[in-house]
Symmetry: C2
Subunit: 419 residues, 2 copies
């Protein structure tokens, strides 16, 4: 009888081997396999070549219970995953009437022309379980070999087709084999560094086997990943939540801004709860702060608008930075950052104004203010302040870090009970 | 004697197998190997487990001349790539004095505390070629086995360390084995669809073997990839350029906006050439258009500022959209888009004003204006116009496509001789 405890992902596509695309499919499926408690020791990529594909698939089936293949299910002559896997598993291809209907309907809907090559996509390995494709023409499938206790799953290559098929068919198929699952929750922390978190939680981390607790940092933020092994997600979640409650009881607790969220989501949520409106005047970030806030659905409840004040002239006319401030301290200064934050808050009639002015590079640095020098300002009716930062990295990274720290500063100020 | 014609990438890291990180290293190295004319038939990922690592490395060395490993060079006990590869290649580890000095200097510079574990990073396989790490502590290396004609290259896992080491040491090392290189240039096209490009160029594409010409589309843009095989990059580039000249001679020629560039780079360059200033009033894109323009170094020569007019109130007060326009046609309308584009152009004293107003979702759609309905406006002293678009996808994708089409519309209008 078929039992699935271990799996390997084998992605098919010469475009991966020549570096044309990044293999996000493997990462997506790997994460889901881990959550299902299915172990993966190895992962591979092979080109659109039936001989090499056959060799790698045969080897992989020696090592594990299930091989998950992505790609090579298209209509063209070099899409040979299904043909090759069927041969390795000793099956022939037969027409699958429901898939033929679906493909015909797909072309009618999209007003495209169905070619003979598309019909090939409806020929499936005999006796396989067919996965419908809700976002394209290529069906997926699983070939099971009960005698050997092995299976091969095939999914389309484009992530926009693969992910929904995995969610709708692949994962439900595998869930029935799983006797335990891994449940993870990410605890989002800001205002305290990774090493401080590690020091405070070291005993907790060392003494915890289930759930495990591990910190990691990402773009100027610290996260704690809490992972529990349990019989089901329903049984694992309370284990995670109990551990999160223990973390909340430590010194780290007051720096937790959310669970499984992002800076911008947590900020928009907190602003909604407080009934506050935010705005931003951006120079070096060029719109990135506003863009991140408005990436959250429903941001319009807390954000009415913002400005990008790139040139000094616009800093003066739009957000009322005094010409004397610019002349005396320069555009990249604490004084200008404060004036921008206050000016945009008043302009927009908002409760909180953020500002960012700095040198994102590659040009524009000076010995006193090298590339990476950034001032971030926050203004509320209670007062206005700005902080200096020295970021490293390229233009893109400096802009990203600036926007993260701006969001983080507002979040921390909202979380502090005295504000 | 060692000859390197084929390679496999073997990435080491349990974090890849559990889906915590996307394997961008493999894509980067794959692209560079293709450019060097080194063939890759297969690619793998294995966890931090010396037994499995040893098995996969041994197999890979049977199949190809060079195995490139990334990851597992860190200071902790589960970083075992160097130890394992040295054993497979029959080498012992010996202290490498220059690396020890570099690591010590690195900790002094960053004011960190160097542990005994970090010393392990300076022990290298005997007789290997050491690659300095300019962005971290772990050196890389190559172990060559001249007799077997095999080699193993080891690079650090973090992309911020791996990429510079590849560029500075890995690629120069491999270049000496290469007897031909692949040189690619991307021809950027906008204002004409992929299928039209394919129809116009079909004869050229079919008849060209070196360089090859292949179109592909990405985020609402069409690109042509021209790839030449030659003895050197210096010999390959003229082949590409001659082919690009032939493409320019076709109907496609007038839609080419640049070579190896991006919409925002091409736009900023063209605006600089014309001495024009641009600005944007954004609603649904929330700052993304300005952020993309200002992502280009030197954007300050053509961009002074912009606004995000999210709420209707701000559309009225900041960019003078008449209240009657909003009442009669709604915020998502041709009329509002035109008023926003003209209003922001006048506010900023710019030559060109862009606007975007639409429904990015997931909420806010109606039968008349479903999610994905977007109006993009362009205003110049000669006139103002707006176009309606119907995009599909999630909030992020609708915002991205809106920003791409806005930049594209300006670029096309600048490229048309009559404007």
């Amino acid at each position: 009888m078929l039992k699935i405890k271990s799996a390997e992902i084998l992605c098919v596509g010469t475009e991966i081997l020549i570096g044309d695309i990044v293999n996000t499919n493997a990462a997506y499926i790997s994460g889901r396999l881990a959550a299902l408690g299915i172990t993966q020791y190895y992962q591979g990529v092979v080109g659109d070549n039936p001989k090499r594909l056959s060799a790698r698939l045969t080897e992989a089936l020696e090592r594990c219970d299930l091989v998950i293949m992505t790609g090579g299910l298209g209509p063209t002559y070099d899409d040979l995953t299904k043909e090759t896997a069927a041969a390795v598993m000793g099956r022939r291809l037969v027409p699958h009437a429901p898939s033929m209907e679906r493909i015909k309907a797909y072309f009618e809907r999209s007003r495209g022309v169905m070619s003979a090559a598309n019909e090939k996509q409806a020929w499936m390995p005999e006796g396989c379980i067919v996965f419908d494709n809700s976002h394209g023409t290529a069906p997926g499938c699983v070939i099971e070999d009960d005698e050997r206790g092995k299976a091969v799953m095939m999914l389309p290559g484009p992530p926009r087709e693969m992910k929904p098929m995995w969610d709708e068919s692949g994962e439900p198929y595998l869930a029935k084999f799983s006797d335990h699952v891994l449940v993870s929750r990410n605890v989002n922390i800001c205002g305290i560094g990774e090493s401080a978190v590690e020091t405070i939680l070291s005993d907790l981390m060392r003494s915890s086997e289930n759930p495990t607790v591990a910190p990691y940092s990402k773009d100027g933020e610290v996260r704690l990943r809490v992972t529990a092994a349990a019989d089901s997600a329903a049984a694992g979640l309370p284990l995670c939540d109990a551990m999160i409650a223990r973390v909340r009881g430590t010194e780290v607790g007051k720096w937790i801004y959310g669970i499984d969220t992002s800076l911008e989501e947590a900020l928009v949520r907190l602003l909604k709860e407080r009934g506050l409106h935010i705005t931003a005047a951006e120079s070096c970030t060029g719109g990135l702060i506003s863009q991140r806030i408005t990436s959250v659905p429903g941001a319009s409840e807390v954000y009415d608008g913002g400005v990008i004040t790139y040139a000094n002239r616009i800093k003066e006319t739009l957000v009322s930075v005094p010409a004397e401030t610019l002349a005396a301290h320069g555009a990249v200064s604490e004084e200008t950052a404060c004036a921008m934050a206050e000016g945009v808050r008043l302009l927009m009639g908002a409760d909180i104004g953020i500002s960012a002015t700095g040198i994102a590079g590659p040009g524009g640095g000076t010995p006193e203010k090298p590339v990476g020098t950034v001032y971030i300002g926050i203004s509320t009716p209670d007062g206005t302040e700005a902080k200096r930062f020295s970021f490293t990295g390229d233009r893109e990274r400096i802009r990203l870090l600036t926007s993260s720290h701006a969001l983080r500063m507002v979040l921390v100020s909202l979380m502090r009970p005295d504000i």
